[in-house]
Symmetry: D3
Subunit: 246 residues, 6 copies
């Protein structure tokens, strides 16, 4: 059987993956906007539609909010997979669905949710495991029948974003990296405000937390605002001065 082609799918430089619409805006919205501003092509994937939620009239409204948020950030694509919200489990089927997207859009970098979130949704912990597996599935040969016969694609790097920024304690992986979002903090917050059904005007707590966290993280590194990412591989540079002063 002939391999299908992916000519119809425009290559993306970066794909970020969250469990629910608004996860990525909260965890790395400023980073995504910065990547767009730097000229990279960026896609967002929500594993579920995040519905139902208390104040949302239904999936269509949530999807419209997600679309508006993506436009605010300026990303090229946003996709919602049909995995089940609230009952997301790491499974072969979930892994394959996500890997198909990776094979279609062929990103160099995948940014994925990377933590357990006690007292909040267990979907995040499952999402991390699905993303880890799908990054691997994307490059596996002799398995095309599971992936609509899309060619394999090797993702160069994977990095984790954090929904619950650790106050202190345990960096679980090789190192954290701050992304300067001084220019995009406002857009990040605006993208989250697009989710009107989730964060009505009367609920301001999240915005205080996110803004203070961004400004605090930024202040530790000498910039106005920042987001923190965790890398499973150590950070390496050929030019130390560039790495420290760029």
């Amino acid at each position: 059987m002939p391999h299908s082609t992916h000519d119809e799918y425009e290559q993306l430089d970066v794909i970020a993956v969250g469990a629910h619409p608004d996860d990525l805006e909260i965890a790395c919205g400023g980073t995504l906007a910065r990547l767009v501003d730097a000229g990279h092509k960026v896609g967002m994937i929500d594993l579920t539609d995040g519905e139902p939620t208390p104040l949302s009239p239904g999936p269509e409204v949530r999807l419209a909010e997600a679309k508006a948020a993506a436009e605010t950030l300026g990303v090229q694509r946003r996709t919602t997979l049909d995995l089940p919200n609230r009952r997301l489990f790491d499974s072969f089927e979930a892994r394959v669905k996500l890997a198909i997207e990776f094979r279609k859009y062929r990103p160099r970098l995948v940014i994925g949710i990377g933590d357990r979130t006690p007292m909040a949704s267990p979907d995040h912990w499952q999402a991390m495991q699905i993303i880890d597996a799908a990054v691997f599935y994307s490059r596996l040969t002799k398995w095309d029948e599971h992936f609509d016969h899309l060619p394999v694609h090797t993702i160069d790097r994977q990095i984790y974003c954090m929904l619950a920024q650790p106050l202190s304690g345990v960096p679980t992986l090789h190192g954290h990296l701050l992304v300067d979002i001084s220019d995009t903090l406002e857009r990040k917050l605006a993208s989250i405000r697009c989710f009107k059904t989730q964060f009505p005007a009367t609920k301001n707590g999240l915005f205080v937390r996110l803004e203070s966290m961004a400004r605090y993280l930024g202040s530790t590194a000498g910039v106005e605002a920042a987001e923190m990412l965790m890398s499973p591989r150590p950070l390496v540079t050929r030019d130390l001065m560039d790495a420290l002063f760029a």
Copy 2:
């Protein structure tokens, strides 16, 4: 030779110790104000007068600023020792000078600077060692000749405050504890603004950093604003519900 008495010195519940005026305001000003509001008697000790600094006309002005800051926080006493700014070293003499204050004012709790501060003053690292030793010296018998014949005093607990809040990484001691400073954040910032020679109106960076850090720390614990302290002993409670919900 008869022991001298400390009748002339009013007992304090808490003494906080920093290397320079403004250290304590920055590291734990909100906590000190909360302690005062809760009815505790609180003293502040600066090991040095912090002078010279670029914009200060001299020690008298700095001391006046420190006095105003202490009044803003509402603490009962502020003392400046005559140890040398910029060249503070852990030494027998420095330890004794501080321990004499502890013997005079007999605090139950000592709050002290607790970290190395790369790229900033090495005095903080030395101060931590001096404070550790003075807490011990305060209770040593058969040594009164070094302490103006003041009676020994055993300090019940010691805790560390942080000038450079760790972004992530290593809690160096047994546990950190947040103090809710929602009610006193404004007073904390106001006390720092008393140091006009150090933080002129045009230098707002410190205030952004401190306010965002306090709000961020607070948000991680469900309060408006918080400061972080580190305890050399584990925290213990007889009533878990009180500890979690009080």
Copy 3:
């Protein structure tokens, strides 16, 4: 369809959840007895009946032991869910079963098993994931059909207890807290001795380990005996003196 009511279920302040009868006695029995003594209403849930085990004639005997242990601790309720011992897996059904209990008894605090236990039962690791999810499921709206139409209930705080106290190493979450069990250590040990089929008179090793651990932990905090809990949120206090000296 009208929501069912929970009028028939008496509200509990605290629910502790383990994988097997005797897990909770071992991990936090002293804490539960202290909570009871302080006037809080406390429930215990075992996800499985823990059977079979080598010396137990069957589930009825184990349940009778669990009942006696609960009475020794003085807790108001003990429930055994019908999830399968030895083959417990995090699943939608398991999460829902536990969340139904939370919706019925509406605790403010959930204490749950919080660690992997190499060389012992894998059920503990699965239990942690089930508990995390059920705390979240308890407050999810628009899902009542899965929960016998019980109203949602938001649990205020969650904390982890440890079956295998870490010797040193990695606090995986925001901070540990010791609970003073000086008054209830004896009752803790007595409650474990109720499990005659598990800990026959000839097997004293567990009791030596638990007593020495409690006394050691206590000694690090200046009390006679203690248990250690881990909090996913930092500990915060409005009154530092109360937190340190209460």
Copy 4:
């Protein structure tokens, strides 16, 4: 029904378990060869046959490679279970299959894969959970029907080997231990080279990484080459001099 016997199965001192053929060679091949040289009987178990892979013509060839590698290391047995490569999940069936092997060969020590491997196969993370559970299942009474009526077997110790040696950061368990493989590094590398379909002569990167890691680890301990293992229990010795100088 009468219990079956295991008379037909020769007891092994050590069983090492990996997800795929070549996992164990990479993670602890030098250690296995050392154990053999010291006179211990050693078995290897691969949970899956590791197929398909890009350059392998099929499972038979991979199995032949695995057999050659085992002979190079000198181990007594190598078994391949029929769990599915690339889609390994912790499950009751997987746990039982592995525990049956433990009951048959009755090892004192189990060495198992012990880490998540971001950007590589998710099978490793699942394998760790399967191994943890199977070590426990091996000693469970009253469950013989699941285990071909093989008698229970209690494994004395379990230890983890690492596919992705941590550069720095978090030892997740009680302690790491280096094994001196100065005498067996060559055999380790030779055993990996047996997997010609996986590591063709043109792909030398893995060998550079493994040799430099072994020599680096060795140099930190004053020996020529070493592998790192992680123990879930602290290391204990009756003779400190032996432990440090042996």
Copy 5:
């Protein structure tokens, strides 16, 4: 000038170094007794005489206590240096005094105090730095004039013992190792009781803490009682089975 010889000094296998008499008994008395029982020649060095203390009539009594304690442990030698108690500082002179002892008695292993002890004596932190330096000074050539012309001696290994066992948190060095003191716990406690002026019959707290800690540490490793040591180099073994089962 001719080098002096050390023919008059009997070689010791191990030298342990503390700041005050009773430090070593508390931190590693069980280990020292075990080393003696295993046939090793062991010396103890106290950097100071530990005097004055509240209930001691003077140095002669304290020294007599130290002598009795050493005899209880069975060590071959105990030496008290004349460095000043309570005001110990890392200095060239202190380093040299200790290194002279190392050159005289030529130990293969040095066990030294290895931690800061907040709320207790700052001498411990200084002692650690003195010991680190003296281990190095012992092997420095072309410096004999500072060392009574004693020949250089290279110490093979150094390890740290702990006065304040960490409850959890940060292993500061490469790994911890437990020493099984099941056979010598009683002798350890007896040696501490020799310090009658320090621990009168009415002060039992220390003994409860030390015994519970030893039993707790032991229970984590499957032995009756243990002490914890920290190694600046990773632990390495040629025979994994010996390391785990010996």
Copy 6:
């Protein structure tokens, strides 16, 4: 009194500081060579002349070796301060001597030794404290009389290099960063070989250790060879793709 000028001193982009000649070659020689290759002006400062050592005929020879090593790396300047080898202590005078060099050559970045080195020289631990202080002293106003009336200079960033690469364990600061030294590893090793009196042809152990460490660190990051640095501030980037792929 008029300020002196530093017109006579050519500005340097980077100054690296070690305790002894060969410290910097070992800890960050590859990084220094890379910085030179990238067009940055680099200086090296040795706090002491490192003499005496066993095989060196005297300081002149050691200095000649250091000069040859600096030429091998291609750095612009190498300075040896006259602080005492083997008895280096953090002191006001030592801090000032180093800060004078910083004021003269006005680096943007200071790379300094950053660790305790048990079993090796205590000078490294003292050097770290001297460097920390001197970075601060360099920018202090109103103190010119101590610094030959050289104008103040603010160093933008400080970073630590490691003599004893941690195997695993505790990142003491905000994050580690690898520098790709694939192009300069050979030059690094050649620069160390310039120290013929320290590393005679018969002593190859250091070279095996350094080369294997560099190749191992490199392999973790996908490059041929690397050195590890530790930053007291988190790493921040405006362009994530550049940070990960540059």
